[in-house]
Every structure is written in structure tokens, then in C-alpha cells.
């Protein structure tokens, strides 16, 4: 089915300065500036927010779920796991 709406933008939300921007969803918009406004209405009205990013969905290059070997761990590589220390949450 073809989409009759505007193109989509992925929305990234930052709750506090210094924290990472986290993906919270997507919006339809005709251009990036309007996408920021739409994102504000939908994701910053109730959640605390200091910054938003929007990225055209089609500008994101992603891995293929049909290619599980891309992430395969066939050999024991547990020595690579960062389990010998705790990384504190960044303030």
C-alpha cells in the first residue's frame, strides 16, 4: 500500500544535557524544520526535553535482519566482553 502521508523522520530525544539522544519514534513532515515542530508536539509535550534531533528515515542505512551471520559469534570470544568492571552512568 502506498503511503499518502509526508515522508517520515526519525526522532531522537534528549532529556538532559550530557545524556545521549535516544530514539523515541518517528513523525511525518514535509521538511526538517516542520519535522522538529511535529516532534515537539508529539514527544516533548509530556517528556522532559532539552533537545531534539530529526533525521530523514531514508537517510538511515541499516543492517539486514535476513543476514544473521553479520552478527554471528561462532567462536568463543567472551574475553572481549566488558564484564570485569562496572561503567558508572555518566552524570
Amino acid at each position: 500500500m502506498s503511503d499518502t502521508q509526508w515522508e517520515t523522520y526519525e526522532v531522537f530525544h534528549q532529556s538532559r544535557r550530557g545524556k545521549p539522544h535516544e530514539h523515541v519514534g518517528s513523525v511525518h513532515a514535509p521538511d526538517p524544520q516542520m519535522a522538529l515542530q511535529m516532534a515537539r508536539d508529539q514527544f516533548a509535550r509530556r517528556l522532559e526535553c532539552v533537545s531534539l534531533w530529526v533525521v530523514r528515515s531514508k537517510d538511515i542505512t541499516q543492517t539486514d535482519y535476513q543476514d544473521p551471520n553479520f552478527f554471528a559469534r561462532s567462536f568463543d570470544k567472551s574475553y572481549r566482553d566488558p564484564k570485569a568492571f562496572d561503567a558508572p552512568e555518566k552524570e
Binding site: 502521508q5 513523525v27 511525518h28 521538511d31 515542530q37 511535529m38 515537539r40 508536539d41 508529539q42
Partner: protein, 258 residues
């Protein structure tokens, strides 16, 4: 200056916000784009919130309780402009009306920044903070839709032709305003209208839309008749319909608590 003229002035502004807020809420579930559905629902809540704050300010001067103003008052006693009472029309009309209204509200609230009545000055500053984003939204849509396609241009121009003369009714003087102007509480409506024309006419023009006015330096020439009447209670059946609609539930149990 008596409190009465200030109460009348605040009531007229609150009525504009209250009725337009309800008209905007009529898009909830029906807007052509999901995001615009949410945006207009959000704006509707904001405008009704502004109405509440203005009714409360009028109440502090001896006016009635906001519930009585919004839900018990007969429609003929509303002092809103006719402009805000008309049905929501197509999305182009809604966008143009919202833009013309947001621009007018911004001009008025900015003028209140120098008001001798401090509570009005403070409230206007708060309203302005929210209104800036309404204006960014509606202006953004006007600029994009005015020139986008042949159909969007045609529908936006038709909306301007209808809405522009109606919008001039926002500057129909409320009875007693001249006393408020003398006391430094409010600015003359003619001055606000001029500032509004200087803001909206160039924006419409750069969006490819013609308005029925020509600005010549410090004067202007209107080639349309302003839609007056609302400020003196001379309304159309559209207000009767929307007031009946929005008072319906309240009147089932007057004074009830939810």
C-alpha cells in the same frame, strides 16, 4: 477607568480564545495528516487554557466564574469576533484562520507588555511564550502550502479571500476600550490592526497569496469590508451552534463535579 471596561475587554479576548479553541478541537480525529491532528488538538488545548487565564483575570476584578462565562452564558452575550465562530471549513481555511489569528494575538500580547495593568502585562508575557510556537506552526504551513501545488495555491487563496475580511473583525473595538487606552492599559485597535497588517501582508505575499489591502508607508487601503459585529453581540447562527455544542454536557448537570 472602571473595572467594567477592563472586564469587557478581557472577556472579549477570552471569548475569542475559547471559541477558536473549540473550532480547532473539531479537527481531532479528522485532520488530513496525523501530525496535524495532534498539533491542532494541542493548539486547541492551549487556546482554551489562555481563555481560562483571561476569564480568571476578569473574575479577579469582579467578573463571573470562568465556568459561568463559558458554560452558562447565553450565546448572544459572547463578545468574540465573528471570525472565530465560523465552521472549520477545509484545512486551508483552518490554516489561514489560525495564522491570521496567531499573528493578531502576537501583536496584541506584545502591545500589552507596556500595559499599566501589571497582571495583564504578566499574563500576556506567558501567553506570548506559547503563542510564538503556534505562529511558527501556522506561518510555516502558510508558506509551504501557498506555493506548493496548483491545488494547494488555489485553496489557500480562496481561504485568504474568505478569512482576511473576517479577521479584521478581531480589531473591532470593544465598548469602553478608549478609557483603557487613556489609562495606558491597552492600545487603540487601529494601531494593533496596522501592526498586524504589516506582519501578515508581506508573509502572504511571499507565499504567493494576495490580500485585499495595500500598505502605503504609514497608511493602508482596504478593498474589503471588515467582518464586524461580534464585539457588540451581533452574531450569526454559527456561534449559536457551537455554543450549544460545547455547553451541552455541562447543562446536563449544571454545577456538577467530575
Amino acid at each position: 477607568m472602571s473595572n467594567d471596561s477592563l472586564i469587557s475587554y478581557l472577556t472579549a479576548l477570552a471569548d475569542d480564545e475559547f471559541i477558536l479553541g473549540h473550532r480547532d478541537s473539531e479537527w481531532t480525529g479528522y485532520a488530513p495528516i496525523l501530525e496535524e491532528d495532534i498539533a491542532f488538538s494541542n493548539i486547541a488545548q492551549d487556546e482554551i487554557g489562555h481563555a481560562l487565564a483571561l476569564y480568571e483575570l476578569a473574575q479577579s476584578l469582579g467578573g463571573k466564574h470562568p465556568d459561568a462565562m463559558g458554560f452558562e452564558r447565553p450565546w448572544k452575550e459572547f463578545a468574540c469576533s465573528r471570525f472565530v465562530t465560523y465552521p472549520k471549513g477545509d484545512f486551508a481555511y483552518t490554516v489561514v484562520r489560525q495564522y491570521l489569528y496567531d499573528a493578531a494575538e502576537q501583536v496584541r500580547m506584545k502591545a500589552h507588555a507596556a500595559s499599566a495593568f501589571v497582571p495583564l502585562r504578566n499574563l500576556s508575557e506567558k501567553i506570548l511564550a506559547e503563542e510564538a510556537y503556534h505562529l511558527m506552526h501556522s506561518k510555516g504551513l502558510v508558506e509551504r502550502l501557498g506555493n506548493a501545488t496548483e491545488e494547494s495555491h488555489r485553496r489557500m487563496q480562496a481561504a485568504v479571500d474568505t478569512a482576511f475580511p473576517q479577521a479584521l473583525g478581531l480589531f473591532e473595538p470593544v465598548q469602553g476600550t478608549e478609557k483603557l487606552v487613556e489609562a495606558g492599559v491597552a492600545r487603540p485597535e487601529s494601531e494593533l490592526m496596522h501592526a498586524w497588517l504589516e506582519a501578515v501582508v508581506p508573509t502572504l505575499e511571499s507565499s504567493g497569496l494576495q490580500s485585499p489591502v495595500r500598505i502605503k508607508g504609514s497608511t493602508y487601503e482596504l478593498s474589503c469590508k471588515p467582518g464586524y459585529g461580534g464585539r457588540v453581540g451581533n452574531h450569526t447562527e454559527h456561534l449559536e451552534q457551537i455554543v450549544a455544542d460545547l455547553q451541552h454536557v455541562y447543562k446536563m448537570a449544571p454545577g456538577g463535579n467530575w
